[in-house]
Symmetry: C2
Subunit: 221 residues, 2 copies
């Protein structure tokens, strides 16, 4: 499938929280589950999505919004999986808010979608501050970044429903303490689901797919 | 040495560019070289600084400002090297501007410093948009993040005088193409100095120390 690029406009609305709640309600009414996926640059968002889509694409109608400051490399990679992918250009902006998410969704759900994914800008700070209106928030922390990140980026970890710990295959080469990492994440957010994965080999991705299936089914009710 | 924590105030000045030029001029008049070090979360800024300080601390009076949203783990680590270290808390802000940098510098140069370092917030987007007033900008891209990052975060790479490629010891375990990475960096900034390093083992850190020595000496003239 081809990829389409949307140049996002800066939002003109004052209250992002209200716009986000409105979007979430609309998604619920339509039975669409929207996942907002966040991480640092290079944590493996696109690779994780590709592995996850492979497990779910026969079951659900999936659409992906790839947000990036520039370039359309990610949307092209996702389009290779056969699902609908559009590229959102933020024009230098470091995050997406609810109105920008809606601009992307409007383009995405022209086709028929029951599982929509927003791959947010690679950034552990700003995206956490703006509610996109997504049904659930997910983030990826990769092993090479270190297990101390929940101490340094508290807000991001506190707003995520699920934290994927990616690149566990290279754990032997890094000073990464998985138990300490889990402890720090739960310090920020006791309810966060934590799933260790290796997106490259597919290890653990089935657990994430199972978590998503639950959420998608719940959104249909 | 003990660490001190400064809670930064939001800047009240309209023109950050003017404030940055003013700070840069003052630093020049005082013969102080200020390095602004940026990267994604977990690229190894603090480890790189520790290795670099070990090579330069007998030659120069070094002071380090560790910017973080929360926590003071980095300033504590730097203080272990014996140089002056202060922790700057941004209070959730995703970047530092010139006035915030000045708030830190004022606390730092009460002692006598000829080489000051600002470890910026871990973020490849926002810190690139705000001139801190530093004499030179440096950034770290670590191997696990991937060689495509200059395509996705163009501004960051275009404003840096030197790019350190860190964690080259783990390159065999990642699909990282160093030549392609250099090509992409130079596409954004033909003049950027590129130095591959491994902060953990110290490999290549002497080259960065040599580059810094040149800059510090130039600032004294």
């Amino acid at each position: 499938m081809s990829t389409r690029v949307i140049e996002l406009k800066r939002s003109v609305f004052e209250s992002n929280d209200e716009r986000a709640e409105l979007l979430r309600k609309e998604l619920k009414d339509k039975g669409i589950f929207l996942l907002n996926l966040m991480s640092s640059p290079g944590s493996g968002k696109t690779t994780t999505l590709k592995a996850t889509i492979a497990q779910l694409k026969d079951k659900y109608k999936i659409g992906v919004m790839e947000a990036d400051i520039d370039s359309d490399v990610d949307a092209k990679k996702i389009a290779e999986t056969g699902v609908k992918a559009i590229q959102l250009h933020t024009g230098g902006m470091c995050h997406l808010d609810a109105d920008m998410t809606r601009q992307g969704l409007d383009a995405l759900v022209e086709g028929d979608v029951d599982f929509a994914i927003l791959e947010n800008v690679g950034n552990l700070v700003c995206p956490a501050e703006f509610d996109t209106g997504a049904t659930k928030n997910a983030m990826i922390l990769s092993v090479p970044e270190g297990h101390d990140k929940p101490l340094k980026y508290p807000l991001m970890f506190s707003i995520c429903d699920v934290v994927l710990i990616n690149k566990i295959d290279v754990a032997p080469y890094f000073d990464f303490d998985l138990e300490k990492c889990k402890e720090y994440i739960h310090m920020r957010n006791p309810k966060a689901e934590i799933i260790p994965i290796c997106a490259k080999t597919g290890e653990g991705v089935d657990k994430f797919a199972a978590w998503l299936t639950e959420q998608i089914e719940a959104a249909k009710k």
